[in-house]
């Protein structure tokens, strides 16, 4: 039983389990595409390729972030309430295959989430990137999602599903808006621009735009994004240890 083979086993199992709940897969994917269709396509960016591309990218980032929050926040909270997870931990496998399997599953669903918005963007707007930039953008998406992956884990390990779901949505929508995932932040008033640069959602957006379009973010945005990654990983670690002490009476 190599770690690789076991990781594949866990990955396949989690993938199957989640794919059988199509509503969860679909909702994360449909929203960005619909937003693009209703709020961007009708107004058009004409021949402004850069603006159109940014509009598609920021909605794709929205899809990735909400997918991460959902699979790692609500998904983990859900696992904790089931007796299956402790059972799996008694099987002769280390923690690595389980954790890597879950990460890979989250990545796959994040990628699925951006397929519709990418297709709509390519077909109905003037958005365009080179193949190399496209791949760089995809990789950047995973980096961009880190604070949300970790923040999701923190929520998932500290709350029951019933609380995790509304809390996730309550935090996410203002963050998404102020981070410039719906409207380009250039349209914000000055004070909101400053707040925006301090948010992890803005950092996520700018990191992907950096990779896919070569537009560098501000230093403040990058620094605060790194701070968010550190802070959310500390929070996730704390929530995990606290949870471990509470379960299994």
């Amino acid at each position: 039983m190599t770690t690789l083979a076991l990781t594949r086993t866990h990955f396949r199992f989690l993938l199957l389990e989640n794919l059988r709940v199509p509503i969860a897969v679909g909702s994360a994917a449909i929203f960005p595409a619909l937003s693009l269709l209703f709020f961007v396509v009708p107004f058009g960016f004409g021949d402004d390729v850069v603006a159109a591309t940014s509009a598609v990218i920021q909605l794709a980032v929205f899809g990735v972030l909400s997918s991460f929050l959902f699979t790692f926040g609500v998904g983990v909270a859900d696992d904790r309430e089931k007796a299956w997870d402790p059972y799996v931990r008694t099987l002769p496998a280390a923690a690595t295959p389980r954790i890597v399997g879950r990460l890979l599953t989250g990545f796959v669903f994040a990628l699925i989430a951006i397929v519709p918005v990418t297709i709509v963007g390519a077909a109905l707007t003037s958005a365009s990137v080179t193949p190399l930039r496209f791949v760089a953008g995809l990789v950047a998406m995973l980096v961009a999602g880190l604070p949300f992956l970790l923040g999701g884990l923190a929520v998932g390990y500290s709350m029951p599903v019933k609380a995790a779901l509304p809390v996730t949505q309550l935090i996410f929508f203002p963050l998404a808006f102020a981070g410039g995932l719906f409207l380009p932040p250039q349209l914000f008033p000055g004070w909101l621009q400053t707040i925006s640069e301090l948010l992890p959602s803005r950092g996520a957006r700018d990191v992907v735009i950096w990779a896919a379009q070569g537009i560098a973010p501000s230093v403040l945005t990058v620094v605060s994004f790194v701070v968010w990654v550190v802070a959310t990983s500390a929070l996730a670690g704390w929530a995990y240890r606290r949870d471990e002490g509470r379960r299994f009476r």
Partner: protein, 302 residues
């Protein structure tokens, strides 16, 4: 590490699982307080205790889910949190913890891929009366079928030790018999079983040795007959203004005129009561629940 921790490594390896001076607390709750347990190879050992006694915590330590605060647990001579030590261990998911959207065959396949020499899925399904259900989603199984699948998962990896936590909760009479037969057959083939229950009858049916746990401690242990004598108490309730001293009463609770007498032999107690000539009324005799028997045990021990 205490001195008992060092001793454990010198003992001969005929125990598949053991605990020495094990304590575990969760916040301010003490779940286990200095517990010793030996599970010898080829035996069926029953852990008996009411809910919240610490049975599940002890199992979670032995199956590698948790670490001890102090003391040592061993599984096949090593640390249960090391995955390699769990290769010959079979465990049952608690309650109805199966993933609803996955098919029975997929769940079996997932579990069996963790073991070097798993049993064929068909054989396992047949043994637990689940033949023909491999393509069914777990969420679509009946309650009894779910429980049977959960128990079957413990046997998929061809284990040497099977740990069954409350295995027959939620099973109908027929399924319970089938499970008991399965456990006996596994035992005849040389397998070791550690099971928990809060029913003495169930433990008596299967185990040769019983370890009684209450309040995080081992209260007593022994063969089933001796445990029955200690735990299998009857409760004689009556109203009487005065009560004579009676032999064979382990514990008496009195509230005004109401008396509750705990005794191993209710027949003899009633005979003695009548012979004493004491005036009494509202006589009731029933089997003491395990919880009541435990209260007696804990008080006698204190």
């Amino acid at each position: 590490m205490t001195s008992t921790g060092a001793d454990i490594h010198r003992l001969p390896d005929r125990h598949v699982a053991r605990a020495r001076g094990v304590s575990r607390r969760f916040g301010t709750t003490v779940a286990l307080d200095g517990v010793d347990l030996d599970v010898a190879a080829g035996t069926v050992t029953g852990l008996l205790g009411p809910n919240g006694a610490g049975k599940s915590t002890l199992l979670s330590l032995l199956t590698g889910l948790r670490r001890t605060d102090s003391g040592v647990v061993q599984l096949f001579g090593g640390d249960p949190t090391d995955p390699a030590r769990r290769r010959r261990l079979g465990v049952t998911p608690q309650e109805t913890g199966l993933p609803d959207t996955l098919r029975v065959g997929e769940v079996l396949g997932f579990v069996s891929r963790h073991y070097p020499q798993p049993r064929p899925a068909g054989e396992v399904l047949e043994k637990f009366g689940l033949s023909g259900l491999a393509r069914r989603q777990c969420g679509g199984l009946s309650g009894g079928q779910k429980r049977r699948l959960a128990v079957a998962l413990a046997f998929v990896g061809d284990p040497a030790l099977v740990v069954l936590d409350e295995p027959t909760t939620g099973l109908d009479v027929e399924a319970r018999r089938a499970l008991w037969d399965g456990v006996r057959e596994f035992h005849r083939g040389g397998g070791t079983v550690l099971l928990t229950s809060h029913y003495l009858d169930e433990i008596e049916e299967l185990a040769q040795r019983v370890v009684v746990i209450g309040g995080g401690k081992v209260l007593t242990e022994g063969d089933t007959a001796s445990i029955r004598r200690v735990v299998g108490l009857s409760l004689v309730e009556l109203r009487a203004r005065t009560l004579p001293a009676l032999p064979g009463v382990v514990r008496t609770e009195t509230e005004g005129e109401r008396h509750r007498l705990h005794t191993p032999d209710a027949d003899q107690l009633v005979r003695d009561l009548v012979r004493s000539g004491a005036a009494f009324h509202d006589l009731q005799v029933r089997t003491a629940s395990l919880e009541e028997a435990f209260l007696t045990l804990t008080e006698v021990a204190a």
